[in-house]
């Protein structure tokens, strides 16, 4: 055995070293504590979540005389998460008995005023509202329902939330959270050592970190301050911060922060945080209106939003919800009977994308881009703005259904080229230029390439009305003016030869403008456009609302210009609006967190095209629908619904367009392949099919423009352009002319005749041109 050595210098140095090390560690600990303390207090004190701007659809206005049946309104109410009740005493409930509907409308802070919740009684007759009275029986002339929340403008990292104040939280929720997640919440100091020990024991046995003994405070700290890595150091930091948080803040504050912070689900790129948004996301209604089974489900989801995702793993989620209900009984939070009833309820999930918390990425993208003109990105994603948009959920749903329905039909048609097509639908209100629906593809909930705004494709014959407008605006042309449907052979500046043809390769000689447009004759249009001048035509594009004139090439006359569907909608809206250009807008109002109005685009109109020229063009475009390429729409539309429009097909059938309008709505539909393959479809078989399906399904009014003072209607023959009598044959059309204009009378059937020969036997079937040759780079 070696003799004991006396203490040496080495040992003394070691001891001193330990002391220094200890001091250093202590110092480091204090510094760390101070740093964490600072972080916790400053960040939590001014507790501001980055609040994405909330975007609402336009509210439904209810008024006497409105065309809306009780059944339709009930549909709308359930879309907003209203529940049927025997006695509609709570906000968010209704009762319908035949034509009598009682609704307890929710409170809502609109852009212009706060509307308190109130009970209303509506009567219906013959599909419209005949009376609206409040609780005291006083007539209410007009009333808004709370609008549908359609999403939010969340930042790139995808955190979305809808912050709720303690008053908006049903009292059951914090009780349930405590019972299930943290029973000692009211008494512990931020951490629960016993629970940690228990968890450690379980973890050591399992050999890895699996189960957390985290208090609600720790969970909050983890989500609010730290990233999700599970290391021991994180654990220590988390515990220290939880203790600090608990020491410095009230339990109630911590609970409210937890309710708003915690992660509860995923919707594509969007992370659903907080119970406020989760309630909308899963049930389509405000948190305050949730009942026991719904609250229990949300509490169940806390433990693993992906593992217990009620939409993907319904069984698992249901099992855990019922487990939560049992725990609530054990802990005395709810009675056994109540819990049993709740356990027998289905999950009660809202259909995603159909109800509140639904998600319209293409439209939201437009909202974001329009707001970006006035706001910084950070203002939109963080400042808690409320955005009142122009989206009409009914029309949006009609547009999605029409597009998906037609594309599915084409999938089944057996034509190889027509399989897997994509499409876009844009709907605006013609007078005010509001975008009421926007579908960016057949998977409308998919947040990707926004075709409606970014897919710039050749517009084909959609360009023709613009050529005719430019001609009419010169004052030298009328709907009866004869144009040459004769072969064209042009040498282009780059040396290429351009020899466009008609769709059926025929030439028709001299035809009146109205016929050339309705039958979409290529050669007549090119000759007309060259006669009018490419410069004038390019200018007309800009007058109608294109940001800049397209390049002046002859092929622009047949639609070689690449435009996005929204650009087309802007131009055609001016045609639908009597020559008044109204910049399309997706936003009506923006308010800040306190409800104060901020800058937002307002309704604007400017008269950019001669009303007389637009009127004449519009009447010619009605003929497209009556006897031209748009004729097929008729069977889909209600009788008496006058519409005007134009088909468009690009080279080799790559793009199939239809743009057209009623008195109140403009619809632009595009169908094509993303990789620009030929579709085998003309504007009639693709775009028009979607268009007419939608136009026939929404509530809209006939197109009946007022005759401008300087014009008068005259009957002319569709085939010869000569003045005729409406009694002679089927080819008489009523067209507007300058008052007293000289017209050549028809010989076979002059004006005033009661009968006469049909000058050309029968109307030709609707033709649709293949537009451009050679292609424009």
């Amino acid at each position: 055995m070696a003799p004991r050595k006396p203490p040496t210098g080495t040992r003394g140095r070691l001891q001193r070293g330990f002391v220094v090390l200890g001091l250093l560690l202590l110092l480091a600990g204090i510094v760390m504590l101070l740093v964490l303390n600072h972080r916790v207090t400053t960040q939590f004190e001014g507790r501001r979540w980055t609040l994405p701007a909330r975007v609402y659809a336009q509210p439904i206005d209810l008024y006497v005389g409105q065309q809306l049946s009780a059944g339709r309104l009930v549909e709308e109410l359930s879309r907003l998460g209203y529940l049927a009740a025997a006695e509609p005493e709570r906000p968010g409930t209704y009762r319908r008995r035949g034509n009598d509907l009682r609704v307890h409308v929710r409170e809502f802070r609109f852009a212009d005023e706060f509307q308190a919740s109130r009970a209303l009684r509506l009567s219906f007759e013959g599909g419209s509202i005949t009376a609206i009275r409040d609780g005291k029986g006083v007539d209410v002339p007009v009333f808004r329902l709370d609008p549908l929340l359609i999403g939010s403008i969340f930042p790139i990292h995808g955190e979305d939330r809808l912050v709720v104040s303690p008053e908006e939280v049903p009292p059951l929720l914090p009780e349930a959270l405590k019972a299930v997640e943290d029973r000692k919440f009211d008494t512990h100091h931020g951490v629960n050592p016993l629970a940690i020990l228990r968890a450690l024991f379980v973890n050591v046995r399992a050999g890895q970190i699996e189960q957390g003994g985290s208090t609600l405070t720790q969970q909050l700290v983890k989500s609010y301050f730290l990233d999700s890595r599970r290391t021991l150091r994180r654990k220590a930091e988390e515990a220290v911060m939880a203790v600090i948080l608990d020491a410095r803040f009230e339990k109630a504050d911590i609970m409210n922060a937890y309710i708003n912070e915690i992660y509860l689900g995923q919707d594509g790129r969007r992370a659903v945080h907080g119970f406020g948004l989760a309630s909308q996301f899963y049930f389509g209604k405000p948190l305050a209106e949730l009942d026991l089974p719904e609250i229990a489900l949300l509490v169940a989801v806390v433990r693993g939003p992906s593992y217990y995702d009620p939409r993907r793993h319904a069984e698992r989620a249901l099992e855990r919800r019922n487990l939560v209900l049992r725990v609530l009984v054990e802990q005395g939070v709810v009675g056994a009977e109540e819990a049993e009833r709740a356990a027998s309820e289905p999950l009660g999930l809202a259909e995603p994308g159909r109800r509140g918390g639904g998600y319209y990425p293409a439209f939201l993208d437009l909202v974001r881009r329009q707001l970006r003109r006035d706001y910084e990105e950070a203002d939109l994603t963080e400042a808690g703005l409320t955005v009142f948009s122009t989206l009409d959920p009914l029309v949006q749903q009609g547009a999605e259904d029409a597009l998906v329905g037609e594309l599915d039909r084409l999938d089944r048609s057996g034509r190889k080229q027509a399989k897997g097509l994509e499409g876009v639908v844009v709907v605006t209100t013609t007078q005010t230029g509001e975008v009421v629906a926007l579908v960016g593809g057949r998977r409308s909930g998919f947040d990707g390439f926004n075709r409606a705004l970014d897919a710039k494709r050749p517009i084909g014959s959609l360009a023709k009305p613009i050529v005719y407008l430019a001609a009419l605006e010169t004052g030298r042309y009328t709907p009866a003016t004869l144009v040459d449907d004769q072969p064209v052979d042009l040498k282009l500046p780059n040396g290429d030869r351009w020899k466009p043809e008609n769709f059926d390769k025929k030439v028709r000689g001299r035809v009146p403008m109205v016929r050339a447009l309705s039958q979409s004759l290529n050669l007549a249009t090119v000759n007309l456009g060259l006669d009018v001048g490419l410069g004038r035509v390019a200018q007309a594009f800009e007058q109608l609302g294109l940001p800049e004139e397209p390049p002046e090439l002859p092929s622009m006359l047949l639609g070689a210009t690449n435009l996005a569907p929204l650009d087309v909608a802007q131009m055609y809206n001016t045609l639908a609006n009597g020559g008044f250009r109204a910049p399309l807008r997706a936003v009506r109002a923006v308010v800040d967190e306190e409800g104060q109005p901020l800058k937002s685009p307002q309704l604007e109109v400017s008269e950019t095209v001669s009303p007389e020229a637009v009127y004449a063009l519009d009447l010619m475009m009605i003929q497209v629908m009556e006897r031209g390429t748009g004729k097929a729409a008729k069977s889909q539309l209600p009788a008496g619904l006058v519409v005007a429009g134009k088909t468009g097909t690009s080279n080799d059938y790559r793009d199939s367009w239809f743009a057209g309008f009623s008195g109140s709505h403009l619809v632009v539909a595009w169908v094509g392949h993303d990789d620009n393959r030929p579709t085998g479809l003309t504007g009639t078989t693709g775009g028009l099919a979607v268009w007419s399906k939608l136009m026939g399904s929404i509530s809209t009014s006939p197109f009946e423009p007022l005759l401008p003072d300087a014009l008068e209607p005259r009957w002319i023959d569709f085939y010869s352009g000569r003045e005729t009598s409406p009694y002679c044959n089927g080819s008489a059309v009523s067209m507007p002319f300058a008052v007293g204009a000289a017209l050549e009378p028809s010989e076979a059937c002059p004006p005033g005749a009661v009968s006469g020969a049909v000058e050309e036997p029968a109307a030709e079937p609707g033709e649709e041109p293949v537009a451009l040759e050679p292609e424009i780079p």
Partner: protein, 193 residues
């Protein structure tokens, strides 16, 4: 004038030969002449004959309706009754006026947007919106709203007069006094006595 003469000639011709080979039951219901007389009363909405009127294989040939005598009215253009607001938009216009008086112009704008949604074709709402734009000192837009109201109220003297008055105000606000005078005289000329 031309149109009325045309209708008269047609009527005379129809009554002269009582059987028209092309007309059917449907034609009687939607014949151009009923449309023309409806238009004369209801407004100058231009209608086109639908294809149903002329069906070559339509068998039953019926008698034309008895001739109607339409007295040409002394004025060239058809008149329309003055536009009115529906109860719902009247309530909203009243509310917007109250908001404007309080200086809450954005609120008034939101309220008028609502009314526009209900009756987009009512020229009176466009005039209201134009007046709001005046308050907002957006004079060019005030004028545009007035011009839109003009286009939607052809034949409605009272509304035309109000629209011209709005245009005159917006011109005067921009110091374009001569044009303002001209607009004002148009307003006076259109004003129903």
């Amino acid at each position: 004038m031309h149109r009325l003469l045309l209708v008269l000639t047609a009527l005379l011709a129809v009554s002269a030969c009582s059987v028209s080979p092309f007309r059917t039951d449907k034609a009687a219901a939607t014949s151009p002449q009923t449309q023309a007389s409806r238009n004369a009363g209801a407004g100058p909405v231009l209608q086109t004959p639908t294809e149903e009127i002329f069906q070559p294989d339509a068998e039953p040939v019926i008698e034309a309706p008895p001739p109607q005598i339409i007295q040409p009215t002394p004025r060239e253009r058809p008149r329309r009754p003055a536009a009115t607001l529906s109860p719902a938009s009247r309530a909203l216009v009243t509310q917007a006026e109250a908001q404007r008086k309080k200086g809450d112009l954005p609120g008034a704008s939101v309220t008028l947007d609502r009314a526009m949604r209900i009756e987009p074709n009512n020229p009176l709402l466009w005039i209201e919106m134009g007046r709001l734009r005046m308050d907002q000192r957006n004079y060019p837009q005030a004028e545009s709203m007035g011009r839109k109201a003009l286009a939607m109220s052809v034949g409605d003297d009272a509304t035309q007069s109000a629209a011209w008055e709005l245009i005159a105000q917006s011109l005067r606000a921009r110091g374009r006094n001569a044009e303002a005078e001209e607009a004002l005289s148009k307003s006076r000329a259109a004003a129903p006595r």
